[in-house]
Structure formats: C-alpha cells, structure tokens
Amino acid sequence: MLKLLSRLFGIFRKRDNLKIGFYGPPNAGKTSLANILCLDWTGEELGSVSEIPHETRHVQFKEKVEIEHKGKKMVLKIVDTPGIATKIDYEDFIGFGVSKQDAKKRAKEATQGIIEAIKWLDDVDAVVIVLDSTENPYSQVNLTIIGNLLARKIPVLVVANKIDLRKSNVKKIEAAFPEYPVVGISAKKATNMNEFYDALFNLTKKV
C-alpha cells in the first residue's frame, strides 16, 4: 500500500515539476524564449542574449516556474541549453568584434556547453525545439536532435522563431517535421505567445 501511494505520489510530483528542455541550433532564440517564460512567471530572466552565436555556453535552469494559462496551472523546471553545432571556430567570433583571446575562451566554453547539452537529453521530460524560421530546417543538427528525441520517446514541440523577419517560413518547418506540433512565434517581440502557451500545456500532457 505504501509502495503504491509512494508511486502515485511520485507520478504527481513528476507531472507537477516537469523538466522542459529548450534545444536547437545556436542563435535560434532558445534563451530569448526561455527569458519570456521566466520573466512572465518568476519576474527574473534566465540568461543573456546576443547576436553572437553561442552566447549560452552552459546549461541554465529556472526551478519552479509556475505558469497559469486559461485557468490551468503547471509548474515547470526550465532547462535552457547551449545551441548544438558540429563545428566551432573561434575566428567566427572575431568577426563579431570579440578579441582573439576572448574568442578562444568562448570557443572552448561553447564546445563544453554542447557536450553538456547532449548529456541533458537523458534527463528532460519534454523538449521545446527552437528553430530559426528564416533558416533551412533540414540541417543535420536539427535532424540529429529530433532523431534522438524520437528514439528516447521524449515529447517534442517545435517552435518556429523569428516570424517577425521577412524571410521567415513557418510552412517549411511544418513540412520538415509533420509529426510534431509547430508554433510560429517571435521571441524578440513576444508575438503569438498565447498559441505557444496552448502548445506548451498540450506538450506536458504527453509526458
């Protein structure tokens, strides 16, 4: 009886404190989106954002983010991960005006951040994949991330970010990943956040 109660309690506790990972390639807007959630519901942002790729170089969390939407409530642990890439060249950062020394440091931290992000795949309950809707969605990094989530049976929500930009093409992302819900948003302008919250609540039901 105690075992059963403990198991039931475990289920409810898990459902009430789901770990939602924010994954995707660099500069897609993972931290911008995570910041909106954290600022809206905890009053504090999660991390800094920048036009320089690999601004997020460590996994960062926000515990107990209590979200209320259309009369429903849930408590999440937001896990914002560094953008996953297959190559890191410190010279790319120099192009953004970063000194050579800082660029090398940034590259070193970025490689370690990617390893950390990959390790976290084993520890998230559901994933929000944030993609730049102005970019080609068929990159191997995107397919590799999704392939791994599929293999691990982790529920996925695809966010097509940057819909405020002229080159944005949400339909191309929908066509690339027809088996997952896709929500077009602009994290920069906080556009379509209602649709995002609808989709986020639906995502947690699949865990």
């Binding site: 297959t86 070193k108 390893i115 191997q140 392939g147 599929l150 293999a151 690339a176 027809p178």
Partner: protein, 130 residues
C-alpha cells in the same frame, strides 16, 4: 588562397561500406570515423548511423575540438534515397531495425576545415569545399 589549395590537395575521400563498422561498438565506430576525419578524409558511409551514434559523434567531435588546436569540427549530412517517405518514417524504421547500415542512405562526414558547408533539403545535397 594558397592555404586553401594545399588543404584541398591533401584531402581524400574514404568510401566506407557499412560492413567496415558493422561489428564495432558505438565508441569504436565513432573513433574510427573521427580518426579518418583527423587525417583530412571525407568519409562517405554506406547507410546511416543510429541517432545515438550521430549525437555521440557530435559529442566526441566537440571534445576533440576542445583538445586539438587545429581541429574545428565536422560537417555531417545524411542523404536518403526514397523521396516518398518522411524523415520520421525512415527514422522510425531505422530505430526499429536497430541497424541502419542496410538502408540505401549515404552519410557524408568531413572535416569542417575542408568541407565548408553541406546544403541539404529532402531531395538533394550539395557539398561545398573550401
């Protein structure tokens, strides 16, 4: 410009039948591929790696970028032959089969210093050397 020419002259292509890695563990497979990449080879693998092998390849690549001064990483792309099946169908079948080497896909993996970009959409692949 001269530097780029030297890089391209030193490059070679390694065609890898799946049988070459079939009996290897995930660690050995990734190690074998990365050793070839470090030797300036572009690897064309018959079939595709499993999702966990692809992500492990990225993980180990990053560990090497961190430790080997001149190594910048890899470019990676999988070319699928059937246009009528979605990525999910192919991936699900691959996962269900456990082995993905028997499929008619091809995997292209090259050092980022040589393979500048692999542009891919569902029906074609373009490899840019630089």
């Amino acid at each position: 410009m001269v530097k780029k020419n030297i890089k391209l002259r030193d490059m070679s292509i390694h065609i890898m039948p799946y049988s070459e890695i079939r009996e290897l563990s995930i660690t050995e497979r990734v190690k074998k591929i990365l050793n070839l990449i470090l030797g300036n080879r572009v690897v064309i693998l018959q079939g595709r790696l499993r999702p966990e092998e692809e992500i492990r390849l990225i993980e180990d690549t990053m560990a090497m970028v961190d430790h080997i001064k001149s190594f910048k990483g890899i470019e990676l792309a999988v070319v699928e032959s059937s246009k009528n099946e979605s990525f999910f169908v192919k991936m699900r079948r691959g996962i269900a089969q456990g082995l993905t080497g028997e499929s008619s896909s091809l995997t292209v993996i090259g050092p980022a210093s040589i393979v500048k970009e692999i542009k891919k959409d569902p029906s074609k692949i373009e490899v840019f050397l630089g």
